[in-house]
């Protein structure tokens, strides 16, 4: 083959070749590899993902429990739509500075579900590079939003994963745009669920927008601090970094919607179908949000 007999021209090109060849490794993918997952080691205090039950519990007792019961007084509907076994991808709307919604969803499953299960929350890769957060977030069950990570959790380990397809566009959103969903990425989350053949459970959350409203984004300070975004909220930045936790006591309502099942194999290769499902999920969450908002009489009392 003349193509491979050619001398590689530069290290860069050769690297590229090496990469391509890596992809042609005969893939021994499938059920047989799931048997070879590492066994649980009861002596360890961390999981292989870096999650620590101890740290989680400490934060739960000190802060999350208080927020969930007394500060946000969370109401939960449709918890039965979260499966008791097997993988599932939870998809939710996302808003507010240092959004409390992920924590509240995890807490709701822990409190209300007949079979409480840990929830893995996908976060931006950014946090892995930020000192302090890089150490803390994995211990609380945050996982970088890499397709391979999501697939391993959903398919191989059959766990629950929460994604926010709006991503940063959701947290950067200002108060006046509240409860209007941004674009849902490129449908990567649908592909992930289809590939792992697990259901998608849409979740709509009301309250996060008012609990941590963002009035403005300060681009200059964002660049100076190297943070992902630098919002102006009722308590931040003038009360210091802890001002990020200065949530207003808005009433939280969480609604788990009916799961969307994917039964056929290799659905993820159908690009049009992926986009259709992504739109459908977005529409369901948006509809549910408007429904919840239309019956809400007070931001603070529900």
């Amino acid at each position: 083959m003349s193509e491979s007999a050619r001398t590689p021209l530069s290290p860069r090109e050769r690297r590229q070749e090496g990469k391509d060849r890596g992809a042609t490794v005969p893939a021994v993918r499938g059920d047989d590899l799931r048997r070879h997952l590492p066994a649980l080691e009861p002596d360890r205090r961390l999981t292989d993902w870096g999650r620590s039950e101890r740290v989680e519990e400490a934060l739960d007792k000190s802060l999350v429990d208080f927020l969930y019961r007394y500060w946000f007084r969370a109401d939960v509907e449709g918890i039965e739509h979260v499966p008791s076994a097997g993988g599932a991808l939870l998809v939710s709307n996302h808003a507010g500075a240092l959004p409390p919604d992920a924590t509240m969803i995890a807490k709701a499953i822990r409190e209300e579900h007949p079979h409480p299960r840990p929830l893995n929350i996908t976060v931006e890769h950014f946090f892995k590079g930020y000192p302090g957060l890089s150490m803390l977030l994995p211990k609380l069950g945050a996982v970088a939003a890499h397709p391979a990570n999501v697939h391993r959790l959903l398919y191989d380990e059959q766990q629950l994963v929460l994604v926010f397809p709006e991503g940063r566009k959701g947290t950067e959103k200002l108060y006046r745009d509240r409860y209007r969903l941004r674009r849902f990425g490129r449908g990567g989350f649908v592909e992930a669920a289809m590939r792992a053949r697990v259901p998608i459970v849409p979740v709509s959350v009301v309250g996060a927008e008012e609990a941590a409203p963002v009035f403005a984004q300060m681009g200059m300070l964002k660049r100076l601090t190297g943070l992902l975004y630098f919002p102006l909220t009722p308590t931040f930045p003038h009360l210091g970094p802890l001002g990020m936790l200065g949530y207003l006591p808005a009433k939280f309502k969480l609604r788990f919607l009916e799961p969307i099942q994917f039964d056929a194999a290799d659905m993820q290769n159908d690009g049009a179908l992926v986009q259709t499902v992504a739109h459908e999920v977005r529409a369901r969450i948006q509809e549910s949000l408007f429904d919840m908002l239309s019956t809400r009489r007070s931001v603070w009392f529900g």
Partner: protein, 416 residues
């Protein structure tokens, strides 16, 4: 294909020496030749050491003269604190090219095993939590040693493409732990406190030194072409490692300007190379299931490897006694291998291989190939021939050897 005649490059490295020893214990192995430009560091019984640096012409002659069928390349340098950067590049990139040149193009080599490192994947912010073998690294490498590893692997992959008749296996090893190896990470774990970068608690996966040798053996003895990650079960956080070693951790390296701080630390005698800094920031985990699915069982988990290292570290100050380290002396080794006066050479092989069977009447019988034995047979006495037939039947049972002996016996049979 069953591998019988081995060439091990990097015999002076810990891995080369250990692998040669393991192969020596296998009576199915006919010949083991080790090449390196430094002398072997462990005592070997029948492995022949040839001092060749990376000249492919000489290597090719060795390969062809000994009819090598399997080449195990254990020579890759994966720790830039151990070797000078220029030497490492010479060894990793140029050396690999030369060894491949000596093996390829219609030669006798049928299997090539390459020891690589999970530094192939690097350690970056946007890495997946578990790299599998099909994944590339998200960014081009930033350190010299990672660049070298990528280039070496690329030339191995190119070799595999051009020589479809050769089964090429690449093993990517995670950070090795064990009492006998010396790496930057083990040096770091030997400090009174484990230094960390402030605000980071990276994920680490290890592999015990015994598992490294067993994995190489496993791949040599089975037909497993392709790339395999070799890393023990379990990914530990660095703080967890410190806890298992019973040491405090000290977040002394600042998150910004870490490189500068590392160069200060180097002045103070703590060498933290660049690729290790990246790992101390972002960590790395790999998916080890492919090799497990290929039938390999790990002897240690990551946690057990760390615990074993901790036990060794606590004991080693007490055990540091007068065991003379092995030194290679060419004359002694040659005497032991080739002198007709050596009577009980290789006690281990005979004892381990076939208990109860008498020793073969021919010196170095195990090191000889079938054709060489057949050419020797005509000079033997009848009693020796019978003993040899029993020995061969009890060991490798090669049909051509036994057949020749039988025919010689029939010819010299006094009755017939």
């Amino acid at each position: 294909m069953r591998s019988r005649r081995f060439l091990i490059t990097g015999l002076s490295t810990y891995w080369g020496g250990r692998l040669a020893r393991a192969l020596e214990a296998d009576p199915g192995v006919e010949a083991i030749v080790g090449v390196d430009n430094e002398e072997p560091g462990v005592e070997l019984e029948r492995t022949e050491y040839v001092k060749v640096s990376n000249q492919h012409g000489l290597l090719r002659r060795v390969v062809e003269a000994a009819e090598i069928d399997t080449v195990v390349d254990t020579r890759l340098v994966v720790d830039s604190a151990v070797t000078a950067p220029r030497l490492a590049h010479e060894n990793n990139v140029i050396g690999t090219m030369n060894i491949l040149a000596a093996c390829g193009e219609g030669g006798c080599v049928k299997k090539f095993v390459f020891k690589s490192s999970t530094h192939f994947y690097g350690a970056n912010q946007d890495d997946p939590a578990f790299f599998d073998e099909a994944m590339g690294r998200p960014h081009p490498p930033g350190t010299a040693i990672e660049r070298d590893i990528l280039e070496a692997e690329a030339s191995v992959a190119e070799f595999a493409d051009r020589n479809p008749g050769v089964s090429v296996s690449v093993l990517r090893f995670a950070n090795v732990l064990g009492p006998a190896v010396d790496t930057s990470h083990i040096d770091m774990f030997g400090l009174p406190a484990i230094p960390m970068i402030l605000g980071f608690d990276p994920r680490y996966q290890f592999v015990h030194e015994d598992d490294v040798v067993h994995a190489l053996e496993h791949v040599v003895q089975n037909e497993l072409p392709g790339v395999f990650n070799v890393a023990a079960d379990g990914v530990l956080a660095l703080s967890e490692v410190a806890g298992l070693l019973g040491k405090p951790y000290a977040p002394v390296l600042p998150p910004w300007g870490t490189g500068l701080a590392a160069s200060v630390a180097r002045r103070l005698g703590v060498d933290i190379p660049a690729e290790m800094l990246a790992q101390m920031r972002f960590g790395r985990g790999v998916d080890n299931r492919r090799l497990k699915a290929a039938g390999f069982d790990y002897g240690y988990t990551s946690r057990e490897a760390v615990v074993a290292l901790g036990e060794h570290m606590r004991l080693s100050p007490l055990l540091r006694s007068g065991v003379e380290p092995y030194r290679y002396e060419r004359e002694v080794e040659e005497f032991l291998r080739w002198s007709p006066n050596v009577r009980n050479a290789r006690p281990k092989v005979q004892a381990g291989a076939a208990p109860g069977l008498p020793a073969p009447p021919v010196d170095h019988y195990d090191a000889l190939g079938a054709e060489e034995i057949i050419s020797l047979l005509s000079s033997l006495e009848r009693a020796d021939l019978e003993a040899l037939r029993d020995y061969e039947a009890g060991h490798r049972g090669r049909d051509d050897v036994i057949g020749t002996i039988e025919s010689l016996l029939a010819r010299s049979d006094p009755a017939g």
